[in-house]
C-alpha cells in the first residue's frame, strides 16, 4: 500500500504543475503572497467560463440561493453575499470563503434563481480560481477533492476504498466506530472493491489532462 501512495504522489507532482502538494496546516488558509486578482479580472473570468449566461451583475440580492442551500449552516457567506462581496471588490474575502467548497451541487440555487444566474457553475469557477491562485484551504472539502482527483488522474476511475481510507486518515471521522461499522457493512455486502479499477488508456488520459492543464482558462 505504501508504495502505491508514493507512486500516486510522485505521479501527481509530475502532472499537476499548477497544484503542488501544499504544506498541511490546520485552520484557515493563509493567503498566498501577492495581491488577490482584481474584481474586474474575476468578473472577466466568470464571463469567460459561462459565456452568454446571466452574470452576477444581474443578482438582485434576493437570497433565493442562500435560502435554498442545504449546506447553508456551514457557509461563512451565503452565495448571495459572496456575489455582493465580489461586486464590492472584496476579493480576498471571496477567495478565502468556504462557501464554494461546501457546495454539494444540488443545483437548487440555480433553478430557483429568479435572474437565472448559473450559481452552481460559478461556485465551481470560484473553487478553481481559489485553487489556482493558491488559496488552497486546508479544509476537508479541498482535501477530499484532491484525493479524488489523484485517483482519477492515476487510474481513470474512482476508487472509493482508497479515497475513504486516505481521507479518513487525514481527517478522522467524528464517530470512528460508526464509520468503521458502515465500511465493514459495505465491504461484507460486496459494495467495496479492494483494488482500484484501471482503464486501458491511462497514458492517453494523462496526456489529455496534461495538455488540458496547459489550456486552463487563464486569469
Amino acid at each position: 500500500m505504501a508504495s502505491f501512495y508514493n507512486d500516486l504522489e510522485h505521479w501527481r507532482l509530475k502532472v499537476s504543475t499548477s497544484s503542488p502538494v501544499p504544506q498541511e496546516k490546520v485552520g484557515k488558509a493563509s493567503p498566498p503572497p501577492g495581491a488577490p486578482p482584481s474584481q474586474a479580472a474575476v468578473l472577466e473570468f466568470f464571463r469567460a467560463i459561462s459565456p452568454g449566461l446571466p452574470q452576477i451583475e444581474f443578482c438582485i440580492q434576493c437570497g433565493s440561493c442562500g435560502g435554498s442551500c442545504p449546506a447553508a449552516t456551514l457557509l461563512d457567506h451565503t452565495p448571495r453575499r459572496l456575489f455582493a462581496l465580489i461586486r464590492a471588490g472584496e476579493m480576498e474575502d471571496v477567495l478565502q470563503s468556504n462557501t464554494p467548497w461546501y457546495c454539494v451541487s444540488c443545483y437548487f440555487c440555480m433553478v430557483r434563481c429568479p435572474q437565472e444566474i448559473h450559481i452552481t457553475d460559478l461556485m465551481y469557477g470560484l473553487k478553481t480560481l481559489a485553487f489556482q491562485r493558491g488559496y488552497t484551504r486546508n479544509n476537508k472539502a479541498t482535501h477530499l477533492s484532491r484525493t479524488f482527483a489523484g485517483y482519477i488522474e492515476r487510474y481513470g476511475r474512482s476508487f472509493e476504498l482508497g479515497i475513504a481510507a486516505r481521507h479518513y486518515l487525514r481527517h478522522p471521522p467524528k464517530d470512528l466506530i460508526a464509520t468503521a461499522q458502515m465500511g465493514a457493512g459495505m465491504f461484507l455486502k460486496g459494495r467495496l472493491k479492494l483494488r482500484p479499477e484501471r482503464i486501458k488508456g491511462t497514458t492517453q488520459l494523462q496526456k489529455i489532462l496534461i495538455r488540458a492543464k496547459e489550456l486552463e482558462t487563464p486569469l
Binding site: 434576493c62 442562500g66 435560502g67 435554498s68
Partner: protein, 678 residues
C-alpha cells in the same frame, strides 16, 4: 394644380434653406446649398432658392408664403429640421398661401446632417443630396385632402371593473351613451372581492358599490353583463361590435332580484370565480349581495334540471315567473365611435411554483383567497382561520413577489403586492394578534401615504425579513413543531439561512395579463407587449391611447396598477373619448393605400398581410379593396403587390424612387475619411 406627370420644366419649385441660427449654418454652408439648388436643380424646376436665419419664425414663413404667390410656386422644399418637428408649421404656411399643404416637403439637414457630421465640406455635400432628393420627391407629390370621418357618440367599455365603471360614468355624465360589456354576471371586477383597500383601509364595498349602482341606474349607461365581445369591425368613429349575451335563463324584465331562487336551489357548488374556490354558491346565483345588475344567472353546467331534466325548484318558487329555462344566447350589434378596453388582469396560478406548496399544504393561501377570507361577506364571515375553518393562526408568513420579478414566470414587478402584503400584515395583527412575518425582496411603497402605512405596520411589530423564500415545507414531517409550516429563507440582512415555523402562509401572487389578452388585442387591432399587457401609444405621454385610433385602454389591462391609478386611467380614457366625440368629425392623415381596381389581379396576397384588416376582397368584382379609414398607411401591401396595383399615398413608388435618385445625384466626396481642417 398642373396635373402634369413629372416632365421637366412644368413644376415651379421653391427651395428654402434654414440656418437655424448656427445649428445648421455652423456646419453646412447654407449659402452654397441655396446657390447650388438654384443653379444645378434648375432642370428639376427649381425657380427660387433662398436661405434664411430662422425659417420657422413668422418672418421666415412669410417669406415662403410671399414667394408662393409671387413666383407662382407649386412645390416647396424646406431644408431645415426633422419633419417631426416643423412639418406642420411649413404645411400651414403653404396652406395659407393657397398651396395644398401636401405639396410642401421637408429636407432634414439639421438632425441628419449638421448635428451628426463634423466635416463642413462633407456636411454641405450631404445637405445638397438631401435637398436634391426632396426636390425630386416633391415633384411627384399630389395634392391631398385629409380624410374626414364622423364620430358616433356612443362608446363601448369592455370590462366592468373599477376602471371601466369610472370611464363609463365620466362619459355618461358628459351626456353621451355608453355600453359596458362584462363577462361576469355582475360588474365590480376584482375590487368587489376585496375587503379593505390600502392605505386608508376603507372597505372596498363601501366605496365601490355606490359607483356600481350609479352605473347600473344611469340613463346613459347600458349594462351588458354575462356577455362577451365576439367581433369588431370598423374604424375610428364607426365601430360595429358584435356582442354575445349569454343565456341567463332569467327574464330580466320580470325578475325582481328577490333571491328566492337562490335560496330554494338545491345544488351547491364551489364558487371558483368570485370566492376563488374558498366558498360555495348555488347553481342559480348572483355572485354577491350587492351585485349590479341584481338579476341572477343560472349555471347550466351544474343545474340539476339541465343534468337530469327534473328539479325546476327555482321556477316553482319564482313569483313573477321570471325563470326562463328555454333561454338562448342572444347576439347583438352595437354601433359605437370609440372603445375603452378595461379588461383587467388574471391572478398568477400559485401551483406553478410547487416549492411554495400551494394546493398541497392546506394552510398555504393565495392573496386573493385571503382577501375573501378577510371580507365580512366572505366564506368565513371575515374570520382569519386555517383551512379547518375554525382555528385562528398564531403565526402567519406573507411571501411577496410570488410569480413576479422572476425570469421563469413574470419578469415585471406586480406593483401592488408590497402594499397588499402590508395590508394583510395589519389585518392579521388586528384581528388575530398573531405573529406576522413578511418576506420581501425590495419594499416598494411609492405613492401618496403608502410609506406612512409601511411605518404603521412596522410600528405594529410585524417581522420584516428581507429575502425571497426558498421553500415552504410541512414541519410535521421532520421537525418537532407538529403540523406547522416551515418557511426556509435566507435572511439577507444577516446573511443566514432561517427556518421559520408558521401556522399559515399567504402568497402575494402576481397580476398577469388576461389569459385571452392577445386574442382580444387582435380582435381590436392593438398590440401586446412582450409580457402580454396591452401596449399604450406612448408609455409616458399617451398612456391610455393605443396605436389604433379610437381604441383606448384603462386600468390593469396595460399593466399592474393599484386602484387610484386604475381610476385615474378610467377618467383619462373617458376624457380622450369625450374630446373625440365633441369634435363630431375627425381628420385622419391621408397616408393611405389604395388599390387601382383595373390593375388588381385578385390574387389576395395583400388581404392577409394587413394587420388592421383594412383590405377586403370584393367577390363580385374579384378585386381587393382598401378601407381608407381602417388603413394605417404602413405600406406593406404596396410593397407586396405583385401587380403593382396598390399605391401608397404620401409614399408612392414614384416618390420614393425619385427620392433615391435625388440622393444619388450628389456623389460622396472622397475627403470623407480625412476631415478638412477648419
Amino acid at each position: 394644380m398642373s396635373g402634369a406627370n413629372g416632365k421637366n420644366g412644368d413644376h415651379r419649385v421653391g427651395v428654402y434653406v434654414c440656418h437655424c441660427g448656427s445649428n445648421i449654418a455652423g456646419v453646412v454652408n447654407v449659402y452654397e446649398v441655396a446657390k447650388w439648388a438654384q443653379e444645378e436643380l434648375a432642370d428639376q424646376g427649381v425657380v427660387v432658392a433662398k436661405e434664411y436665419k430662422f425659417m420657422c419664425s413668422s418672418l421666415g414663413q412669410k417669406l415662403i408664403e410671399e414667394d408662393i404667390q409671387k413666383e407662382k410656386l407649386d412645390r416647396v422644399v424646406v431644408a431645415a429640421c426633422s419633419p417631426h418637428l416643423h412639418e406642420k408649421t411649413f404645411r400651414g404656411a403653404a396652406s395659407r398661401a393657397g398651396l395644398n399643404p401636401y405639396l410642401c416637403e421637408m429636407a432634414s439637414v439639421r438632425e441628419q446632417v449638421s448635428w451628426v457630421t463634423e466635416d463642413k465640406a462633407l456636411a454641405t455635400e450631404k445637405a445638397k443630396a438631401i435637398v436634391s432628393a426632396a426636390v425630386a420627391r416633391v415633384r411627384q407629390h399630389e395634392p391631398l385632402e385629409p380624410i374626414r370621418v364622423p364620430i358616433n357618440s356612443s362608446t363601448l367599455v369592455v370590462g366592468g371593473g373599477i376602471a371601466g365603471i369610472q370611464a363609463a360614468l365620466e362619459i355618461a355624465n358628459s351626456g353621451f351613451h355608453v355600453y359596458i360589456v362584462e363577462r361576469e354576471p355582475s360588474i365590480g371586477g376584482h375590487m368587489a372581492q376585496f375587503d379593505k383597500t390600502f392605505p386608508t383601509l376603507d372597505c372596498a364595498a363601501c366605496i365601490l358599490t355606490p359607483r356600481m349602482s350609479e352605473a347600473g341606474m344611469h340613463p346613459n349607461i347600458e349594462l351588458l353583463t354575462w356577455s362577451e365581445v365576439e367581433n369588431v369591425e370598423g374604424y375610428l368613429g364607426n365601430y360595429t361590435v358584435t356582442v354575445r349575451k349569454k343565456a341567463r335563463y332569467v327574464d330580466v324584465s320580470l325578475c325582481t332580484g328577490c333571491g328566492i331562487c337562490q335560496q330554494k336551489c338545491p345544488k351547491k357548488v364551489i364558487d371558483d370565480q368570485y370566492e376563488v374556490g374558498l366558498g360555495y354558491r348555488k347553481a342559480i346565483y348572483t355572485p354577491f349581495e350587492q351585485a349590479v345588475p341584481k338579476f341572477p344567472v343560472l349555471d347550466r353546467e351544474n343545474c340539476t334540471y339541465f343534468e337530469k331534466g327534473t328539479c325546476r325548484a327555482c321556477e316553482k318558487f319564482c313569483a313573477p315567473g321570471a325563470i326562463k329555462l328555454d333561454d338562448q344566447d342572444e347576439v347583438v350589434q352595437l354601433n359605437v365611435g370609440n372603445v375603452i378596453l378595461a379588461t383587467g388582469y388574471d391572478m398568477f396560478d400559485a401551483r406553478r411554483i410547487p416549492r411554495y406548496g400551494y394546493g398541497k399544504l392546506a394552510n398555504v393561501f393565495t392573496s386573493i383567497e385571503f382577501e375573501r377570507m378577510c371580507n365580512a361577506a366572505g366564506p368565513t364571515n371575515g374570520a382569519i382561520v386555517l383551512r379547518d375553518g375554525k382555528t385562528a393562526p398564531k403565526s402567519v408568513g406573507i411571501i411577496h413577489c410570488v410569480g413576479s420579478r422572476d425570469h421563469k414566470y413574470n419578469t415585471y414587478c406586480s406593483a401592488i403586492c408590497c402594499m397588499q402584503s402590508l395590508k394583510f400584515a395589519h389585518l392579521v395583527k388586528e384581528r388575530t394578534g398573531a405573529d406576522v412575518f413578511n418576506f420581501y425582496i425590495d419594499m416598494r411603497t411609492a405613492a401618496k401615504d403608502y410609506d406612512e402605512f409601511y411605518q404603521k405596520v412596522l410600528e405594529e411589530g410585524t417581522n420584516l425579513i428581507r429575502g425571497k423564500v426558498a421553500e415552504v415545507t410541512d414541519g410535521g414531517l421532520f421537525d418537532e413543531r407538529g403540523g406547522q409550516l416551515i418557511i426556509q429563507v435566507e435572511d439577507t440582512l444577516i446573511g443566514k439561512q432561517r427556518r421559520i415555523p408558521v401556522d399559515m402562509v399567504i402568497l402575494a401572487i402576481a397580476l398577469e395579463p388576461r389569459h385571452d389578452a392577445s386574442a382580444v388585442a387582435h380582435q381590436f387591432g392593438i398590440s401586446c407587449s412582450a409580457n402580454g399587457w396591452f401596449t399604450e401609444k406612448h408609455p409616458k405621454l399617451d398612456p391610455v391611447s393605443t396605436m389604433t385610433d379610437g381604441i383606448f385602454i384603462a386600468g390593469c389591462a396595460s399593466g399592474p396598477k393599484d386602484i387610484p391609478a386604475s381610476v385615474s386611467q378610467g377618467s383619462a380614457a373617458a376624457a380622450r373619448v369625450v374630446s373625440y366625440i365633441q369634435q363630431k368629425e375627425l381628420s385622419l392623415e391621408p397616408v393611405r393605400a389604395s388599390i387601382i381596381a383595373e390593375q388588381c389581379s385578385g390574387c389576395r396576397i395583400c388581404n392577409d398581410l394587413c394587420p388592421f384588416n383594412a383590405i377586403s376582397f370584393d367577390e363580385q368584382k374579384m378585386v381587393s379593396e382598401v378601407h381608407q379609414a381602417l388603413c394605417q398607411g404602413c405600406g406593406t401591401c404596396v410593397a407586396a403587390c405583385p401587380a403593382g396595383a396598390i399605391s401608397g399615398t404620401g409614399f408612392t413608388n414614384e416618390q420614393v424612387l425619385a427620392q433615391i435618385e435625388g440622393l444619388l445625384r450628389v456623389p460622396v466626396r472622397l475627403e470623407s475619411a480625412h476631415p478638412v481642417a477648419v
